[in-house]
Symmetry: C7
Subunit: 80 residues, 7 copies
């Protein structure tokens, strides 16, 4: 397998900026929208994001900055 | 997409000083007001801030310094 | 807006030493009194402080050192 | 026993990229799939992953990045 | 106000070694006794210390080393 | 007592690789098996490990990597 | 008071290796036995240790390595 296909997690994350993701936080709430940018701490800017709890939309955000230490996982666009 | 439009989260946050934001903390309480300043740890000064719990105003603050490690997310002005 | 009016949070905090503040900790207890000093970790010395829980005074402290990692926010004097 | 057979945990983990693993997080949820990559913080990319709770599949992920600090343990392929 | 009267929290703490203090930990238990020594992490040695819960003495310690990260606050001698 | 007999904890831990241990995690679950390797963060590889809860075997693992920050203690072979 | 009698906490802790201690962890469980060694993170090796919960012996350990971040306090031999 080529090295190219085995990117480190943070490199892959960085390459997915401007794409749609779902971010689940430790408090089980999810944010679904465009990941406008992200840094190595997983601080991230979401735009046009829906806030979901138990799969229901409970709020909408034009632009929100999530503090990275709260992130449980980030589901990438190929899934959405 | 130009590099200019893809600012890192902390740069974007810094550019939003003096604008209105809503800060949600890990304990689910929110602070809505002007983000007078912020540092890279997400310590921030809020002025003329309302404290909200379950969308109800429960207190008002002329000027308050929030310790960054408590921050869940910061909703930027374009939403408000 | 001038740079002077946009101090970083820790600089503003430092400038408020010897003034009255209310410090809320993560355990929801508050300390109201003079912030005798503070460092960049938000360790702080409070003098002549009241300890409040649910807005009731439950104890008084002549001088107490609070460990910074417990701090939720610090409300500055202009509010009091 | 040869030094070769006694790899440090993070070296062993790195050698298992592209293999199937089960990752259990601190919140007791498990992710079973291919570990596409991993870094020294245990941030990892899972592909074609099932999310399991109490041994039941509750969701499927094409590609998901798990933040390393949430990891409890990673079960390696020889078990699966 | 002179600089002398505005010591940083850790300097003030250090100057109070060999004096009586009450240390409250995050688990709400308190230790009342002589602070034999302390370091910048707030690790501290207490001697002839009473352990208090809800203001009742529940144990006595000739000499105990408390790990600093558990400390909520330290009440200084002038109060006791 | 000679210096040789007073090894630092991480040195002693390292010398016990390839021996049987019981690792208890903060969530009270235990892993009993061979500690194939360990690093200074207490990340460790267990092989042929039983997972125990309340002293009952609830799962078996051929090879599992435990993230060190979850470790409560490691019981060494001389006990087993 | 001489400088000699005012050792820093970690120095005092180090001088108590090979002596009996009681270690209380954050989960309220205690370990009573000989502190065979300890490092500056408070990782420690206990030998011939009893595990106590609510003052009752619930297990015995020939040799156990406790991860330092779990430590609440360490009661030194002069008390035992």
């Amino acid at each position: 397998m080529s090295q190219t296909s085995a990117k480190r997690p943070l490199t892959t994350l960085q390459k997915n900026t401007k794409k749609n993701v779902i971010v689940r936080l430790k408090n089980e709430v999810e944010y679904k929208g465009k990941m406008d940018n992200v840094d190595s701490y997983m601080n991230l800017i979401m735009t046009d994001a829906e806030e979901l709890k138990d799969d229901k939309v409970i709020a909408n955000y034009g632009r929100v900055i999530v503090r990275g230490n709260n992130v449980l996982f980030i589901k990438l666009e190929s899934d959405l």
